[in-house]
């Protein structure tokens, strides 16, 4: 029944859309017959002033033409115009003025632009409101900033732009997903991602697959299918008060995306193209250049073992070594070895927009084509987005439809994390005398894996992985949206919105036989079929009685999601020349579903008094299918208010705008489906005659689950002064989630690694400051400098009884976890540490000369940022503009397993310490004929582990035992993660754009507008403290904090952008 209603609605929407599309050209032609009169020209001379005197460089334009000029130093201008025409005068910071040409001499006094004071922003439910009426923080980013220096995933462009918004990407490259966190993590076990709402319809941003603890691929996200050229603006609703009307899914904030409608012009065609060249941003260049491949100061006997160790003798080129394929190469350091593997990437992003608008009907069509050739060989992406939007008004009803179709094809996503196929991991430890290019002979004459390192499955030849193994994903995504607004009278309107998203995604992963770890060959085909529907009906009533302005909104929403996944796994490849399921001896099938529905009703009241005081209240009730039926309805309110105190001081130029605001809100939340009871399944593997059956749940189900509630409180202060050249926005917030639904870790002895409970308390408390300034404005030159700053304190205050921490993510083979620990910031890095005496000195074991370790859990660092910020600056001179964006992140720790590997493999600079002396000592020992490890020998040199030895009587002596530095570093890299925890702070340049707007007088009538820009994304890292890798590196894209391993180099891109409008 329900499905029927849904399908019918979608069908109706689509039909209406079709009708609208057909109707438009007819209308367009009908209106094409207006004629033009010829009118005589007159020469006008005039002056332009503002309240303080003449204005230099104001633009004067004849309305409806490209005829124009600018004012001189005295504010004067002359221009030939049609008699009876209109002049449009524009000047930065002032309201634009229109003057009818009635005489040859004109004087214009511009008024200060108070547009900023009456800035209209898009708020929850797509309602446009005056900024000063808002009782909560909201930041709006205009679509224009995304259009020139483009990212393949538009959301990456937000990095550094919004206070309190942290963007992180995996090293997965162009096709990867992006993680956005607003005001810290509010849920301990959820994904903490904000809700994206596009023109009133929530987007399904789920990842199809993430690279988890054991590696894997980042299969991208939903938001990447938004074309930057379609974005009118993005509103970032950070706190619950802003997003309370969106309910459960908005508990981590909302990013509202308003897309463009047809331009207010009869007909226009635009082209926007960006072409960039992509290269490695971070490089493995901080490594020792003295010793080469080997162990214990000697060569590998066969050049097949120790290939990933640089603990050999000095690389003096004196010797030739014979490698696995029979070739011989001199034993010399290969500088910048890893870079040789990567190629120069290329990204082309072309968009054509056709827009037409006739009277009440607008139509806009965009076609965007993105092609990316990654820096990783064989890895590429192509994405085409078709977007059609039509809006029309029939009498009192406004209709708005859009259809979006995205097709994406990604070849060979790079494997991440612990994955045996992670090429970053496998390249970074390669001995520094082992040229990676020698691995190009990755297969033998039978097409089988060449044994280059003793078949070590943890160091697979990266060329084999790239050229022999493969993966491919294809996505077909339809997003439909239809809305109708019925304007019943001047005070009342009703809006209905329906949206649907249908997504078919297919991922195929192939491992050729003889791949170490997949010796028999492997093919996996993942098919995802996701459907999401959203219906909403809202009635809004607005009226004004004397000084009081009242808006009331009531509405309802129905949201349904239905995902189906089937995974076919094939093993044991028998037919080797075709990669198809039938080539394999054993195939198995696994099916999963995810279905849920939330029904909601909500209401809001907005009161305003004399533009001075505003008060909002909202309430929403949700009924979620994922909760127990007796507990599945939850209601939560919000209240917010603002006081525009600048209204009290009329015409005060010193403080034209000042406001304080305050809000309190509660947001309720549900959980994932099927969490209430046990279910059983069977193994996908067949054991003839038997059933391998078991409980499917990994999480203890909970029949008594209650909805999560998050409370938040926020106060803020906004002001603009110095003729609005300085704008300041300050926010303090305090958000507490208690008894949230979480998959809390549980002792394995219960039978389940997790249990679903209402527990815990997590607090996010912080400040956000946005400062917009224009330090210089002289004539045609202006300089804008904007800062944002955010400090968030993300404390874990309580878990559950008798529990002080639980693991969020782990590097299991190193015994390190990222955890929620009571009393600490969310994301503690926890693991073993050295044993120390009371003075804090490391205790050295006199038997081994090595440090001793305490294998219980210690807090070693914290992965939350102390503060984050951004600097955005723009210089403008006439038609030339230069903008730069910097992203600043400070204070988080990162356990770098890559750096750890650099020490273990003898590549790090610090591993040089004591080598020469130890190797000399060993020669002396051998010369003396004393066996290794014999107590008769005292080494004459070597590495002395920092620390002390217990004398047994309460005193300690400094360690003086000389050992092999290799032994020391192997030991600490295995046992002392604290050594490899780095301050992950950085300052990155995210974007530089230099653009030139061609003067209109250069073109004929055919071209209306044209600009050319030189663009760069992530061109350089200003400062970082971690060597070799990009500080943005991640272990995976799930929790994505605190751990890093085998990160591929990040990419920088340089190129140009051309925009032409016809």
């Amino acid at each position: 029944m329900k499905e029927k209603v849904i399908s019918r609605t979608v069908l109706c929407g689509a039909m209406l859309l079709g009708i609208a599309t057909m109707a438009i050209p007819a209308v367009a032609f009908a209106q094409h017959t207006t004629t033009q009169n010829t009118v005589s020209q007159i020469k006008v001379a005039g002056t332009v002033k503002d309240e303080e005197g003449p204005v230099i460089g104001a633009s004067v334009l004849e309305k409806g033409s490209s005829n124009g000029t600018i004012t001189d130093v005295n504010g004067r201008f002359t221009l030939n115009v049609k008699a009876g025409g209109t002049l449009v005068i524009n000047y930065v910071g002032c309201k634009s003025a229109e003057v009818k040409v009635l005489s040859e001499s004109i004087s214009v006094t511009l008024k200060q632009d108070s547009r900023a004071l009456n800035e209209v922003v898009v708020t929850a439910l797509g309602i446009k409101r005056d900024r000063k009426a808002l009782g909560y923080g909201l930041e709006e980013v205009k679509g224009g900033v995304f259009e020139k220096a483009k990212e393949t995933n538009v959301i990456n462009s937000l990095a550094g732009r919004v206070a309190g918004l942290v963007v992180s990407q995996t090293a997965g490259g162009a096709s990867g997903s992006t993680r956005v966190i607003l005001r810290g993590s509010t849920e301990m076990t959820g994904n903490n991602q904000p809700l994206y709402v596009i023109d009133g319809v929530p987007l399904d941003n789920s990842n199809f697959g993430s690279a988890g603890t054991s590696g894997g691929y980042d299969l991208g996200d939903g938001i990447s299918s938004i074309n930057p050229d379609d974005i009118e603006s993005m509103s970032v609703l950070k706190g619950p008060a802003a997003s309370a009307l969106y309910g459960s899914r908005a508990s981590h904030g909302v990013i509202l995306i308003t897309t463009k409608k047809a331009r207010n012009e009869r007909y226009s065609v635009e082209y926007n193209g960006t072409l960039t060249v992509d290269n490695q941003l971070s490089k493995w260049n901080n490594i020792q250049q003295v010793y080469g491949m080997g162990s214990n100061g000697s060569y590998s006997i066969d050049a097949v073992s120790n290939t990933n160790k640089s603990w050999g003798p000095k690389a003096d080129g004196g010797n030739m070594l014979r490698y696995f394929d029979g070739t011989e190469h001199p034993y010399l350091i290969i500088p910048d070895n890893m870079s040789g593997f990567f190629r120069t990437g290329l990204t082309a992003n072309n968009t054509v927009t056709v827009s037409s608008n006739t009277g009440n009907t607008g139509l806009r069509f965009t076609l965007s084509d993105v092609r990316n050739k990654d820096i990783v060989p064989k890895s590429s992406l192509s994405r085409d987005i078709f977007n059609l939007r039509a809006n029309t008004t029939l009498k009192k009803v406004d209709f708005d439809f859009s259809v979006n179709y995205t097709h994406e094809d990604v070849q060979n996503r790079p494997a991440l994390g612990d994955s045996k196929s992670n090429i970053g991991k496998n390249l970074m430890t390669l001995a520094n005398t082992y040229n990676q290019a020698w691995l190009r002979t990755y297969q033998n004459e039978n097409g089988e894996y060449s044994n280059w390192n003793g078949m070590d499955p943890y160091n697979v030849n990266p060329y084999w992985d790239v050229y022999k193994n493969s993966n491919e994903s294809k996505k077909d995504l339809f997003r439909l949206h239809a809305s109708a607004v019925w304007n019943i009278g001047s005070h009342l309107k009703i809006k209905g919105t329906s949206g649907a998203e249908l997504n078919w995604f297919n991922f195929q992963d192939f491992k050729a036989p003889t791949t170490p770890g997949y010796e028999a060959g492997y093919l996996q085909n993942n098919q995802f079929q996701n459907k999401m529907y959203n219906f909403e009906l809202i009635a809004t009533y607005n009226n004004r009685w004397k000084d009081i302005d009242v808006t009331g909104t009531v509405g309802g929403n129905l949201y349904k999601i239905d995902k189906q996944t089937s995974i076919i796994t094939a093993q044991d490849m028998q037919i080797r020349d075709v990669v198809a399921l039938m080539s394999f001896n054993e195939t198995s099938l696994q099916e999963n579903t995810y279905r849920k529905q939330i029904n909601s009703v909500f209401g809001a009241v907005n009161l305003g008094w004399r533009n001075l005081v505003y008060l909002d209240a909202t309430i929403r009730g949700d009924k979620s299918s994922t909760l127990p039926v007796n507990n599945n309805t939850y209601v939560y309110p919000s209240v917010s208010g603002s006081f525009v105190f600048s209204e009290l001081v009329k015409h005060n130029d010193v403080l034209p705008y000042g406001k304080i605001r305050m809000s309190w809100a509660q947001v309720g939340s549900d959980t994932d489906p099927y969490k209430l009871g046990l279910v059983y399944s069977k193994s996908k593997f067949t054991y003839p005659g038997y059933t391998i059956g078991y409980i499917d749940n990994e999480v203890i189900p909970n029949k008594d689950l209650k909805p999560t509630k998050t409370n938040s409180f926020e106060v803020g202060f906004e002001t603009k002064f110095l003729k609005q050249r300085i704008g300041l926005d300050f926010t303090y917030y305090n958000q507490i989630s208690r008894n949230q639904i979480m998959g809390m870790a549980s002792t394995w002895a219960t039978g389940y690694p997790y249990r679903l409970i209402n527990a815990g308390e997590i607090q996010n408390q912080g400040i956000e400051v946005t400062l917009n300034t224009r330090p210089v404005q002289v004539g045609d030159f202006s300089w804008d400098l904007n800062f944002n700053f955010s400090k968030n304190n993300n404390k874990v205050r309580k878990l559950t009884d008798n529990m002080d921490m639980f693991e969020l993510e782990k590097a299991s083979w190193l015994d390190v976890q990222v955890a929620a620990k009571v009393g600490e910031n969310f994301g503690s890095i926890i693991g073993p540490d050295f044993k120390r005496n009371t003075d804090g000195n490391i205790l050295i074991d006199p038997a081994t000369g090595l440090p001793t370790y305490d294998k219980s859990n210690h807090v070693l660092g914290n992965a939350s940022w102390d503060w984050t910020g951004g600097i955005n600056t723009t210089f403008k001179y006439k038609n030339i503009g230069l903008t730069a964006l910097f992203d600043v992140k400070v204070g988080a720790d990162l356990y770098s397993m890559s750096q750890r590997a650099a020490y273990e493999s003898g590549k790090s600079m610090a591993t040089l310490d004591g080598r020469e002396a130890w190797y000399k000592s060993e020669e002396e020992r051998q010369a003396a004929g004393i066996t290794k490890g014999s107590a008769l020998w005292n080494p004459t040199g070597g590495f002395v582990s920092p620390g002390v030895i217990d004398n047994g009587d309460g005193t300690y002596r400094p360690n003086d035992i000389k050992i092999n530095p290799e032994t020391y570093w192997m030991s600490v890299s295995r046992n002392a993660p604290a050594m490899f925890i780095y301050d992950n702070s950085y300052v990155k340049c995210r974007e530089i754009t230099l653009s030139y707007q061609f003067p209109k007088k250069w073109f004929g009538k055919f071209i209306q507008d044209m600009s050319f820009s030189l663009v760069a994304r992530n061109p350089f890292i200003v400062w970082k403290s971690i060597p070799n890798i990009d500080p943005d590196s991640n272990y995976n894209n799930t929790t994505g904090m605190g751990l890093e391993y085998g990160s591929l180099p990040s990419r920088k891109s340089y190129g140009f952008n051309l925009y032409v409008k016809f």
């Binding site: 073992s305 894996y449 044994n451 003793g454 078949m455 070590d456 009342l492 009703i494 170490p516 770890g517 010796e519 028999a520 492997y522 009635a539 309802g556 129905l558 054993e586 099916e591 579903t593 279905r595 849920k596 529905q597 029904n599 909601s600 009924k623 299918s625 099927y674 046990l678 279910v679 059983y680 193994s683 593997f685 054991y687 038997y690 059933t691 391998i692 059956g693 078991y694 749940n697 203890i700 870790a745 549980s746 002792t747 394995w748 002895a749 219960t750 039978g751 690694p753 008798n802 529990m803 083979w813 015994d815 073993p832 038997a847 081994t848 001793t852 370790y853 014999s934 030991s971 295995r974």
Partner: protein
């Protein structure tokens, strides 16, 4: 006009409200039911899962290779065995493998299956089998970790036991005896068919034998710490209804199948093959095969044990396939003929350290004529490796065998418990059964009666009780080679064979986890956070430290 509007709105909202709220409870509940999963399953399917997981869980058996085989000094030289167990390297992740594998799979499902078949007459036999098997699985756990959750284990959902108590090992063993006895009695030949059993194909009489035989094993295990109880249980089990394993036909062996060789992610959830055998083949076989430890190899070699070159072989692996032992070149005959010095690895030694002396191989010189890529000078090839027979995915998984029963009876006789037979007889029968065991289950060449009698003549049980105990348990140690859990437990329990620390072989400077051979494995560190109260309680009984040098309750030798 105004009323009109109001009517419209009201109407619209009413329609919407009805639409929204019309979703009844049953609709919502139905939506929250996973259509791709079942609400119930035959408990027999859970028995299959538990049995297969025993040796089929690739993640779990890694622990055996890393610690058990090294501590029992049966394997040594492979990177994993030497690095972790051979050099006493404490690794929390490696030590936790059994705990984090068995509780959330086998024990959870056994407990669930038991709970759903309790008091169901039509499932009473499978209920009995599940109970017996749960005891066996829990015994593996307690013999590794000591005190551990048992009575409250796996009850997270059924009973809401979120913080299960660590029962003391004494309580656990007491419960084992009771549980085995009751379960055995409840088994009834005319009852339901145990259709999920991949050990005995559901033969109820054999399950009774298994329950009684396990009681013998557990009684012997506690014989030094609780001799009275041990004797009583042992004798009781001997006379219990159904009897004990009476021949090799009664051996409790989990039947595994041939599965494609792989160490990819998939293979960690595929329990159908003997993962231990696959692992001993090596996940990087050309560089990481299983080498025998000198303690084990020399014991066999020096005693003239006919099993020596059935278990240990000398191979050249340069041409070996990466998915099977195909093209492995067997040098054993050449090594023996030429009298090449053999270099089994001492406890603590890697296969490459110290680098062994070698020889020039005629076999490989012959091959080199047509294949110049092979090497002809053999070095590490003189280190004995585990024979191909033990590296097959369809090798059985050993629970308990007739051979072991004889050794248990021999020791019981030695203790003067009431068993009908002599120590020497049981000993000889045990050795003979152990030798047959290799041919019966691993395809080794049959050991002839002549070979056996030569061996038994030269290796008598001895004269003193100490010698007899040593002989019995050394033979049990050889028998248990393919049952690493029992092998290490019995070495710790009996104190035989006497093993020397790697420190005594010159590896003291590498023993970061202490010079003494560890006698248990530490609990997962996260237990200190996830089940704090119970964990602290258990630790307080061990002197406050989660140390691997604290002996288990039954380990008093």
């Amino acid at each position: 006009m105004k009323t009109n509007i109001r009517t419209y709105i009201l109407l619209l909202l009413t329609i919407f409200a009805v639409g929204v709220s019309s979703c009844s409870d049953s609709y919502m509940e139905n939506l929250n039911t996973d259509p791709s999963k079942a609400n119930s399953i035959d408990p027999n399917a859970q028995l299959t899962t538990a049995e297969l997981q025993t040796y089929g869980d690739l993640g779990m058996v890694e622990m055996y290779r890393n610690y058990h085989y090294a501590f029992a000094q049966q394997l040594m030289g492979c990177w994993n065995t030497t690095n972790f167990g051979g050099r006493h390297t404490i690794d929390n992740n490696e030590m936790s493998r059994m705990w984090i594998s068995f509780y959330p799979k086998a024990i959870k499902n056994l407990t669930d299956g038991i709970s759903r078949s309790n008091e169901n007459a039509s499932l009473s036999n499978v209920n009995g089998a599940l109970r017996i098997y749960r005891v066996y699985m829990l015994s593996l756990m307690t013999d590794v970790y000591g005190d551990a959750p048992c009575s409250e284990a796996g009850l997270g959902y059924i009973d809401g036991k979120f913080n299960p108590r660590y029962d003391t090992q004494e309580e656990i063993y007491t419960w084992f005896f009771k549980e085995l006895k009751e379960a055995s009695i409840a088994l009834n030949q005319s009852g339901d068919k145990i259709s999920g059993d991949v050990i005995y194909k559901g033969d109820v009489t054999k399950w009774k034998k298994l329950a009684n035989s396990l009681r013998l094993r557990y009684a012997m295990r506690i014989s030094d710490v609780a001799p009275e109880k041990a004797k009583q249980e042992f004798e009781d089990a001997l006379s219990a209804d159904g009897g004990i394993l009476a021949s090799a036909l009664d051996d409790a062996m989990i039947k595994y199948m041939e599965v494609p060789f792989s160490f990819g992610q998939e293979s960690y959830t595929d329990y159908r093959g003997n993962a231990l055998s696959k692992l001993l083949f090596g996940n990087d076989p050309a560089n990481n095969p299983s080498y025998l430890c000198s303690t084990f190899f020399n014991q066999m070699k020096n005693s003239g044990d006919p099993r020596t070159y059935r278990i240990a072989r000398f191979y050249y692996d340069g041409l070996m396939s990466s998915t099977s032992t195909n093209n492995r070149i067997d040098l054993t005959e050449e090594v023996l003929k030429k009298g090449v010095p053999m270099n089994p690895r001492d406890p603590g030694a890697f296969s490459w350290e110290p680098w062994p002396t070698g020889y020039e191989s005629d076999i490989l010189k012959e091959i080199a004529l047509t294949n110049p890529s092979v090497q002809t000078s053999m070095t590490r090839e003189t280190e004995p490796k585990l024979a191909n027979n033990f590296l097959k995915s369809d090798n059985p998984g050993v629970v308990i065998t007739y051979g072991e029963i004889n050794f248990l009876l021999a020791e019981a006789a030695l203790k003067g418990w009431n068993v009908s037979g002599t120590v020497a007889d049981f000993y000889a029968k045990g050795v003979r059964a152990s030798m047959n065991f290799l041919a019966d289950n691993y395809g080794c060449d049959k050991i002839t009666d002549a070979e056996f009698s030569t061996f038994i003549t030269n290796n008598g049980i001895g004269y003193t009780n100490e010698q007899k105990k040593a002989a019995i348990n050394t033979q049990a140690w050889i028998l248990h080679f393919t049952n690493p859990a029992e092998s290490w437990s019995n070495v710790r329990r009996s104190g035989f064979p006497r093993l020397k620390s790697p420190a005594e072989y010159g590896f003291a400077q590498f023993l970061t986890g202490g010079a003494d051979i560890p006698v248990r494995l530490s609990y997962p560190v996260l237990e200190s956070s996830y089940n704090k109260k119970s964990y602290d309680e258990a630790l307080s009984r061990m002197g406050g430290e989660n140390s691997w040098n604290s002996p288990l309750w039954w380990d008093v030798n």
